[in-house]
Assembly symmetry: none
Homo-oligomer: 180 residues x 4
DNA sequence: AATGAATGAGGTTTCATTCAT
DNA sequence: AATGAATGAAACCTCATTCAT
């Protein structure tokens, strides 16, 4: 059992059972070790959770963002959305996302990460919009506003349940709304 | 001490200290009563929390939504946003909102309310957009999409920190983007 | 079960089994209650121990010191010694004494009490010597020094094991040494 | 890391932090080794503590006691007291003393050593007094009683805080009290 | 000679809850 | 309507110890 194994299992518990079910007992049981063993790897529950934030942060940082701007507008938005969707639903990151969502109101650390996640979406959205506007794919208008609108709507779609077709339709409609 | 007093204090704890700090001990202490006394009013903690959801739901239901459509477009959006802001920040409702936000990933009941809150924003937003489009204040286009964009962006703005001016600017820009 | 019952039992454990055996589990078991019950009466183990110091201090303060100075010198010293012996061996106070002895090197509070106990013996010893010297029962000499000598020797005798006769002989010899 | 290093550090912990802080974890940490390593040198904590008693005993045994009886009475007492003071305060022995003081009520072994320490002081004190009396430096009287008085008062002075001058004055007064 | 990893037992404390009064 | 006293379960954590390497 390595530190990573522990963090992975901790993340899974948070995602699947909720933050308040992340107890040393529960965690140990799932890992098939005794409670005391966890204290060999982490000084305290607090430190474990802190490590969990680091772990998530690091994984998030390793996600690149490359968009092929030779595609047509709708496909560009579509790829962007897919990229985010992967982040939100990937086994690797959904745990951290779940942690952050549950703790953001109460834990400074979670709040920061939640905000920086927003910021990431927003800046990627802005970059895409700027490109489309500058290349006259989208009507000449405030690309920052377009960025916010696309990022916001996408974020909410990603954190609530929507059908695949519904998402497709949204992207198509969004493209049409602003396409030249 | 009435049931309402208890629910109010419970809400305040959730908002100010987080859901996990809502313990019988903490609640009793804040109310200056002994723990056992709370069991005269509520069968169990579970029932108390259930009552808390009802309490919030009821208060939410009593919030009407009346917009004076004789105002100009920007003012209409502004009033709409103000209306939501009041809901999100009012002492009466912020507690329930906090509860729902913290528990939505984990508690069926919270998830439902969270969704219905979204729906409410969305339907009000849709109604406003439909009106503006139908009265040719806004360009003829898919009013449902406009509804989603406005509701989404507003929701995220309301649940993260933004300056008053920033919000003003957003509404103004949004209006310009779609105004005829 | 009252606070006093708990303190008495805690004291007994310290005296009979040693300070490190004063655990919440052990204490609860001896009192035939469950661990959690102790927390109704004391906020924490630390508070319990603090209360124990108070309890001992109070009992110590209630011990008067009255010597009949019409007796002969040896009897006066004998009574004085008996008075102290009672303090050191009484069921009521031996517990506190044991606590203080075991913790004085490590716990500020115990150290203070230990010192004030010394001081008490010393001042009573001084008073007795002063009386005997001033009444010419003892040779004219530094009564403070006599006080220290008698108090010191008595203290050590009381905290280590000595036969009754040995103590008697000591007092007798001490009297002869200084009697006119 | 040798057995001695371990014993020295263990003693330092007992003196500086108290017996209950002598844990394998704490000890290992201070020695910059891992807990398991200590078990290469000592079978168990119990054996380690037993070795600690031996270690202290041995060091104590190596302290000779030689007094130059050609000095004057006050100086003889002064040297005797100094000798003891060195034992009580020396880095080498204060640890063991601390151990014994903290454990004497609870641990047979500590109790024995504590008693034999007393005995040592007592027999040295007796020897000095006998010499002074036999050489007519002190008035002809029960030298064993003088021995007890000097040893007792000194012992208490050494285990509680006193100024250097205060100690000096005590020795001077004691000398005067019994000098011919 | 030392250590990484694990453990069983037991420590203090908090939790929601009960029940007689 | 409220509370004093108690409780079982479970929380986090530390202890001395083991054992393969």
């Amino acid at each position: 059992m390595t530190r990573e194994d522990i963090l992975d299992e901790a993340g899974a518990i948070i995602r699947d059972e909720g933050y308040e079910m992340l107890t040393i007992s529960n965690l140990a049981e799932k890992l098939n070790v005794k409670k005391a063993s966890l204290y060999y790897h982490f000084e305290s529950k607090e430190m474990l959770i802190s490590a969990l934030y680091d772990y998530f942060n690091e994984k998030l940082a390793h996600r690149g963002f490359r968009i092929d701007f030779s595609l047509d507008s709708e496909e560009i938005l579509s790829k962007t959305y897919e990229h985010w969707r992967e982040i939100f639903l990937s086994d690797e990151l959904s745990c951290g996302l779940s942690l952050v969502e549950q703790r953001k109101e109460v834990d400074e650390r979670a709040y920061e990460i939640y905000n920086s996640l927003h910021l990431m979406l927003r800046s990627q959205s802005d970059a895409v919009m700027e490109n489309l506007v500058s290349r006259n794919k989208f009507k000449k208008q405030d690309s920052a506003l377009l960025g916010e609108l696309f990022a916001s709507a996408s974020f909410l779609r990603l954190t609530t349940e929507h059908s695949y077709e519904d998402d497709k339709a949204f992207i198509s409609a969004f493209t049409n709304l602003f396409a030249t």
